[in-house]
């Protein structure tokens, strides 16, 4: 196992070395880092040109400069990294520039990747299970549309509709009757397609889900909920019940009475505990409280599952723990929404809350309130994350669909069915895990693509991270900066490849990494 990982690492290091040489020489030859200065009539320009030429050793050929740069990178192994200085960024050491940018990129890219995997796999699997249904065709059509959209365009459109238009809606939140109708019809259609079955069940699911959502929208509209959105006890209860139902549906099914009981108890506990937790969140006011509450709820879930589970202790406890863990989400959202009015008053936007630029609002950063800052991060991250996600979502959907369809035709699935196992057990326990094996490959590949997409997304959303660093480096022919970007993304891609390799062996016991 260790030797395998080590071998992979050595091989990729060699690849990185060769690639870095090519990138370095190409970038260095792509232009003149002092071009702007040469175009300046400022009397000081000549002095600056001389100063920077000396600093960057521009009198030496790029190949020589590469090796002195490599020497600086090599020094990292003895803890004295020197990636050179960046001309484009006021002679800041590149290592500092990367330090600042890496966090934001990981935040953005990880969130987008994880969401794309979860949502993409979920959609892909539902389409596979309802192959050749109307839902399948619609999703297939949409995924191809998204797949072919250029990300810069998606990002600009998202800003127009997701921020500017949505914000002006929030400024005067009246939902027109026709959009309630359309949303109800669409949600009803999706629900009935996924549930499937006979006409009667389809109609029931269509009417109940579509009508329920339309009724909810009318209620929110009448009560002017969007003017000052809040979640409160009712919201927490509704959301907890919904997550409990979804988790139960996918893991054990409602017929498992013990699991149903355990999940019910956990949901009730979450709602009851939300009251004391409020005080914890308010007085401690630290992001660590989220982890604390998460641990408490997961622990409670395990305990409840253990005592209620009977024969299927492990399964019931796991289900209850997942429900408990997800129960944190409505609690956290509730804390954020409590501060909605204060937030709206503090931000510079004339209407609404969704920001189009940057990672935070300066006026909010000054306030020492975890939840207000969390809400601020949310309003800033929402659009760029969606933009990044929407592109890879399509790929995950297609791969998950194809992979699950493939697995569902295997002999062992037929055997499982022949044993008399329920459809849920067949899909979730026998087919799902095997269907994930090819997806693991895609994750490693896609991560690189997402970072590439982030270069553009970051620019459109004025998000200052690795992508904008790279852009700046290229525009100013700042070789050190470009190489800093290359080094970090290269290493990240290597790490994700290793993770994918390890995932194979975890998912497929036939594969031994040695």
């Amino acid at each position: 196992m260790l030797t395998f990982v080590a071998r992979r690492l050595v091989a990729t290091l060699l690849v990185l070395l060769v690639a870095s040489f090519i990138v370095y020489v190409l970038t260095a030859n792509s232009g003149d880092p002092l071009r702007e200065l040469r175009g300046s009539r400022d009397p000081s320009a000549q002095d600056q040109i001389a100063y920077l030429s000396g600093l960057l050793n521009l009198d030496q050929p790029p190949v020589i400069r590469y090796f002195s740069w490599l020497g600086g990178v090599g020094a990292c192994f003895i803890g004295q990294c020197d990636l050179g200085i960046s001309v484009a960024r006021g002679q800041q050491p590149v290592i500092e520039a990367i330090g600042g940018a890496l966090g934001s990129t990981l935040q953005l890219v990880l969130a987008a990747t994880i969401l794309a995997i979860v949502i993409g796999v979920a959609i892909g699997m539902t389409t596979a299970l309802r192959q050749y249904s109307g839902y399948d065709y619609v999703v297939t059509f949409l995924t191809f549309v998204f797949y072919s959209l250029p990300i810069f365009w998606v990002a600009v459109l998202l800003k127009e509709f997701g921020a500017i238009q949505f914000n002006s809606f929030l400024g005067d939140p009246v939902i027109p009757w026709w959009s309630i109708l359309i949303i109800g019809l669409v949600m009803g259609f999706i629900a009935s397609s996924i549930v499937g079955g006979e006409l009667r069940t389809r109609v029931i699911s269509f009417v109940s889900v579509g009508g329920g959502i339309a009724a909810l929208l009318i209620l929110l509209d009448v009560t002017r909920w969007f003017e000052s959105p809040s979640i409160g006890f009712v919201g927490i209860a509704l959301m907890s019940i919904a997550t409990g139902a979804v988790v139960l549906f996918t893991s054990t099914g409602f017929h498992n009475r013990r699991a149903l009981l355990a999940v019910g108890i956990v949901v009730v506990l979450t709602v009851i505990l939300s009251w004391p937790f409020q005080f914890l969140f308010y007085y401690v006011n630290s992001p660590w409280t989220v982890l604390l509450v998460l641990a408490i709820l997961v622990g409670l879930g395990l305990l409840v599952g253990f005592f209620v589970g009977g024969d299927g202790k492990a399964v019931v406890a796991r289900t209850a723990a997942i429900v408990g863990g997800l129960g944190v989400l409505p609690l956290v959202l509730d804390q954020m929404f409590i501060r909605w009015d204060e937030y709206v008053a503090r931000i510079p936007l004339s209407n609404g809350v969704i920001a189009t630029i940057g990672a935070s609002t300066p006026a909010i950063r000054r306030v020492d309130d975890t939840w207000l800052n969390m809400l601020d991060s949310l309003t800033h991250m929402l659009l760029p994350t969606i933009a990044l996600m929407i592109i890879s979502l399509a790929a995950y959907t297609r791969y998950a669909r194809a992979s699950l369809l493939d697995v569902m035709n295997q002999d062992y699935v037929r055997t499982a069915r022949a044993k008399g196992l329920g459809e849920r057990t067949v899909v979730m326990r026998h087919a799902f895990r095997n269907a994930m094996i090819p997806i693991a490959t895609i994750i490693a590949l896609d991560f690189g693509a997402v970072i590439g997409g982030a270069v553009i997304t970051e620019r459109v959303f004025a998000w200052q991270a690795m992508g904008s660093l790279f852009n700046e480096g290229l525009q100013h022919i700042d070789v050190n900066l470009v190489m800093g970007f290359f080094l970090v993304t290269g290493i990240l891609a290597v790490i994700f490849n290793v993770i994918a390799d390890l995932l194979y062996s975890a998912l497929d016991p036939r594969i031994r990494v040695s």
């Binding site: 003149d32 960024r89 936007l349 209407n351 940057g358």
Partner: protein
């Protein structure tokens, strides 16, 4: 609609009681509590010493402008305005040129230390390379040290400094201004010194005794310690002498400034906080204005961006000239069609060919088709030396002979070529930066127009600017090049850099001893009228020699949200920031 929390209550931060001396008018702060404006800029401050070689750039300049007071600033005309609330200066003698600068009594740094002659002496030391090391190199790496201008140690008293120039100098007015705090840089270099007055006294003594050993760490601090991409650890780095002090700097995201409670020496700003956000993409800037993320943004418009801006119903915009101007330069020494050597050293023939070529450059067409759609107020630039609107521009433009090239004159060009006995077609290798769409269009217009007079203009575009590196390429291989120069001030010196024989930015090998002499005279001329006369003389020669043609100022656009008033773009740095104290929220009434 969201209710703004702007209360009309005016916080009188500094009472009129500060007007202790009779000569200072009582000052009343007009800062409105809890107001905040966010503006966009394409880059962010990363160095709080705007005079050093490392810190001298526009992004630093715009923020430092709001954090610092100066004896002068540029308004939107552009013209120089003296800030007499901060300090005064006067020329006390023409020969030798002597200027006395005096800081007003109530002026302090943001830590309360008075601003006095020690700070002015530091400025002298850095600007005029007052202290040098063993190799005679300036100890302080100022962006443009002028050791040749005022080398004599100036006299100082409590609040003033008297600078005696070694020679008359035309740009003496803008040559000197306050830089960073003397006690700040000394305390950064010698942390054991904590008393500002002691620090200043030691600094003054060291400069007066030319104590290089003691000053070396100070110079190192001045050169390096002000580099700060995020909020600096030491308050000394971001000491302010102006209307705002640094609140927070987040690397590449934003810088937040907050009104300086001590500030009484200048017009009072209205916003309590100003936040400058870094947004590079111009579409993103416009969408941010529409959404209300930022209130002011500026940049160079493309047709798409302009269209987007016109569609905004909550914002105003102005298109105007920027300080950068486009021009075509011809090459005099590369054996091409404009080089006398091609015609056996016949100067007149080469000049006729140059004049003929410039006559067919469709300047008006370029302006009409490429620039007017972006800036409806754009005009042709008719002067090599001065920016339109600047003092003296009209005099220069009307008499310098640029009128000969105002219209395309195919017949005139043909006649010139025929009289000179040059066989057509004449091949002209024309360079423009490859990938630059606007310049590619300009090239096409020129190519078509020139063809009518017998010029074959060859596309010699390259992505690189190799010809600007005179060490690698002493002679420009292109016959004609098109690019832009940027003006950062109204200084009259500096034009010798590209017009003078053999100067570093003279890429075309232009050489006219008469021009060289006139520019040298201009440098030491103190009478504004004579200055204009000399400029007219220089321009007449340059246009007569057919050195090249100037085309247009780059169009700029400034967009602002309706929630702010009194935004007034200016061509020179710090552009729209120049009157930041006049910006006010719309809904305060």
């Amino acid at each position: 609609m969201k209710k703004k929390r702007v209360s009309a209550a005016i916080a009188v931060l500094a009472a009129g009681a500060l007007a202790l001396t009779g000569c200072t008018p009582p000052y009343e702060s007009e800062v409105i509590a809890d107001t905040e404006i966010t503006v966009a800029w394409n880059d962010l401050i990363d160095n709080f010493n705007g005079s050093s070689a490392a810190g001298n750039n526009t992004a630093n300049a715009v923020v430092l402008y709001m954090m610092n007071s100066s004896f002068l600033y540029y308004n939107s005309e552009p013209a120089l305005v003296r800030n007499t609330d901060f300090g005064t200066f006067e020329k006390t003698s023409d020969d030798p040129l002597t200027v006395k600068y005096t800081i007003n009594d109530n002026v302090t740094w943001s830590d309360g230390t008075p601003i006095d002659s020690a700070d002015l002496l530091l400025a002298w030391t850095t600007i005029f390379a007052g202290v040098t090391d063993a190799d005679d190199a300036p100890l302080f790496t100022h962006a443009n040290p002028r050791g040749d201008l005022a080398s004599a140690l100036p006299e100082i008293d409590d609040k003033s400094i008297t600078i005696v120039y070694d020679k008359a100098y035309v740009d003496w007015e803008i040559q000197f201004d306050l830089g960073v705090a003397a006690h700040g840089v000394v305390e950064l270099a010698y942390p054991e010194i904590t008393d500002p007055e002691e620090a200043k006294a030691m600094f003054v003594e060291a400069v007066q005794n030319d104590d290089v050993d003691w000053l070396t760490p100070v110079a190192k601090a001045w050169n390096d310690e002000y580099q700060a991409p995020s909020t600096p650890d030491s308050d000394l780095v971001a000491l302010s002498s102006g209307a705002y002090v640094l609140d927070e700097l987040v690397e590449n995201e934003y810088v937040a400034l907050v009104a300086n409670p001590l500030y009484t020496w200048g017009p009072s700003p209205k916003y309590e906080r100003i936040i400058v956000r870094q947004i590079e993409d111009s579409t993103a800037q416009v969408q941010a204005i529409e959404n209300g993320d930022v209130q002011i943004a500026a940049g160079q418009p493309t047709p798409d961006v302009l269209e987007l801006v016109k569609g905004l119903d909550n914002a105003d915009y102005v298109t105007a000239d920027e300080a950068t101007y486009e021009h075509i330069d011809l090459t005099f020494n590369n054996g091409g069609p404009f080089d006398p050597a091609t015609y056996g050293g016949d100067e007149d023939t080469a000049k006729a060919v140059r004049q003929a070529f410039l006559k067919v450059v469709p300047r008006q067409e370029i302006l009409d088709k490429l620039i007017l759609p972006l800036n409806e107020n754009a005009t042709l630039r008719d002067s090599v030396l001065q920016i339109p609107g600047a003092p003296g521009y009209d005099d220069i433009a009307s008499t310098n002979g640029s009128a000969d090239y105002a219209e395309v004159d195919i017949e005139g060009a043909k006649a010139l070529l025929a009289d000179a006995g040059v066989t057509t077609p004449v091949e002209v290798k024309f360079w423009y930066p490859e990938g630059n769409v606007r310049r590619a269009s300009e090239f096409e217009f020129i190519q078509q127009s020139a063809a009518l007079a017998g010029f074959t203009v060859v596309d010699d575009s390259e992505p690189t600017w190799a010809f600007t590196d005179k060490e690698a390429l002493p002679i420009n291989p292109h016959d004609a090049v098109i690019f832009a120069w940027q003006s950062t001030s109204l200084a009259l010196t500096g034009s010798d850099q590209y017009l003078g024989s053999g100067q570093p930015s003279n890429f075309g090998g232009y050489s006219n001893t008469e021009v060289d002499g006139l520019l040298k005279d201009l440098e030491t001329e103190l009478d504004p009228e004579v200055q204009t006369e000399i400029q007219v003389e220089v321009e007449k020669l340059v246009w007569e020699d057919a050195y090249g043609v100037t085309l247009f100022q780059f169009p700029g656009i400034t967009v602002w949200n309706n929630s702010v008033t009194n935004v007034d773009p200016s061509p020179l740095s710090p552009t729209y920031f120049w009157n930041f104290w006049e910006w006010a929220p719309t809904d305060t009434e």
